[in-house]
């Protein structure tokens, strides 16, 4: 146990986390520092393209059947996470079901920044993982958003007695696939498989990755501090859910990952990636999809819960936690 704590504390001192806290601190002190929206968009595009490229290169050199079980696990997790919110958060006093399910949908969906944060930390800890695990992103993201919108719509149409409105699933899937995050990632995967991008990958994408990631962490920190105000306007249960859910979802996914590890030899590092993807909550593509899909849900509730608490917990607690666990299992 003390070994685990030492490993956990060592992970807490990673620069990724330092930049995140730096962003929270400057924004809480009302700093005028502003990073233009377009820079933020470019950085997430760059990071996801790089992750996609390394995933594509890995898929090109791997056996496709290895990907099947982890991809299936990702789909199941995306759906289960939303159902958990349906039967826990939504049952709490004073919580409206659409708000709760939208929050669950966002927590089931995936954050590109959290995904970008875990990979270099696994590299630093020298824990091997399959680079294609990053390509599991859409396998969890899309089912979570679809489930949330379907569950909320069914509930709303039952309550209003208006059963004529059927939920169309394909437009939700299409919108998720067309979102900037998933597009960047899939473009990277496709280029990684179809072309040989190693020269540009080695000379451009790989060296700049950590630098851009640290800037993104400052932005995420600032964003978290600003969204705290939104969260204060909604029930405290959302804050409590946002703190517990990433850790719980991470453990569920890590457990599933270890089962797949036993069956197919999926790496423990890969189980960490799966756990962190499950722990993360969407910040780019999820909110607009949910706002359009569940219009009656209060965006302050789900965006506040995800951005102000969910993402910091996923980056600051879940990443060190699961890397620490993996190091312990690898007998370090």
């Amino acid at each position: 146990m003390s070994d685990f704590l030492t490993l956990f504390i060592k992970q807490l001192q990673s620069p990724t986390l330092g930049f995140l806290i730096g962003g929270v601190v400057v924004a809480s002190f009302g700093s005028q520092l502003a990073i233009p929206d377009s820079i933020y968009r470019f950085i997430t595009f760059f990071l996801l393209l790089k992750i996609g490229l390394s995933g594509g290169i890995a898929i090109r050199n791997s056996n496709f059947s290895e990907v099947l079980l982890p991809a299936l696990a990702a789909v199941v997790l995306g759906i289960v996470i939303v159902l958990i919110s349906r039967y826990t958060l939504a049952r709490l006093p004073g919580i409206k079901l659409p708000d709760a399910v939208a929050t669950g949908g966002l927590f089931g969906a995936v954050s590109g920044s959290t995904l970008a944060a875990v990979l270099p930390q696994l590299d630093s800890a020298k824990i091997p993982y399959e680079a294609w695990t990053a390509a599991l992103y859409p396998f969890m993201d899309i089912p979570a958003l679809v489930t949330a919108i379907v569950v909320a719509s069914v509930y709303i149409s039952k309550r209003t007695g208006n059963t004529s409105d059927k939920v169309e699933i394909w437009p939700i899937v299409k919108e998720s696939l067309q979102s900037s995050a998933v597009t960047a990632l899939l473009l990277g995967v496709a280029l990684g498989i179809a072309t040989k991008p190693e020269p540009v990958y080695e000379s451009f994408f790989s060296p700049l990755f950590r630098g851009f990631l640290s800037i993104l962490m400052i932005i995420m920190g600032m964003e978290a501090a600003q969204r705290m105000n939104e969260l204060r306007k909604v029930a405290q249960w959302f804050a409590i859910y946002a703190f517990i859910a990433p850790i719980l979802h991470g453990f569920l996914a890590f457990g599933l990952g270890l089962v797949i590890h036993k069956i197919t030899g999926f790496s423990i590092g890969g189980a960490v990636v799966l756990a962190v993807i499950a722990a993360s909550s969407s910040d780019i593509s999820g909110p607009p999809t949910l706002r359009a899909g569940i219009p009656s849900a209060n965006p302050s509730a789900y965006i506040g819960a995800s951005t102000a608490i969910g993402t910091p917990v996923a980056i600051a607690i879940c990443i060190p936690l699961f890397i620490g666990l993996a190091e312990m299992m690898l007998g370090r």
């Binding site: 502003a34 990073i35 233009p36 929206d37 933020y40 932005i219 995420m220 600032m222 964003e223 600003q226 939104e230 306007k233 910040d283 780019i284 999820g286 909110p287 607009p288 706002r291 359009a292 219009p295 009656s296 965006p299 302050s300 965006i303 951005t307």
Partner: protein
């Protein structure tokens, strides 16, 4: 060379932008102008320009010039029935003078 026309202004959530402009064109308006907007209303401060991870909290202001009051009312009613309940959105109208000779 000027004519009296109606200026319908819609301030709404940015995620509605595409749907609203489609609705405006489908209703028969000849054109519109979209601007980024920010401000405060009954659904809290909504701004544009600060670093924002998702555009869910940004606003747009859409201006439509219509030749008749009926067309402006038609657009307003369509927006009202579809979006007033769940979204931050306001509409207002004024009479303006269009300086260019143009069929609205």
């Amino acid at each position: 060379m000027s004519q009296q026309v109606w200026k319908l202004v819609i301030v709404a959530e940015e995620i509605l932008s595409k749907k609203l402009t489609k609705l405006i064109k489908d209703a028969g308006a000849t054109g519109y102008t979209v601007m980024a907007a920010g401000g405060e209303g009954s659904r809290n401060v909504r701004s544009t320009g600060e670093p924002s991870v998702s555009h869910t909290l940004s606003n747009v202001k859409i201006e439509v010039l219509t030749g008749t009051r009926e067309l402006a009312d038609k657009i307003t009613h369509l927006i009202e029935s579809k979006y007033y309940a769940d979204y931050s959105i306001i509409t207002y109208i004024s009479q303006v003078e269009a300086l260019r000779d143009h069929k609205f």
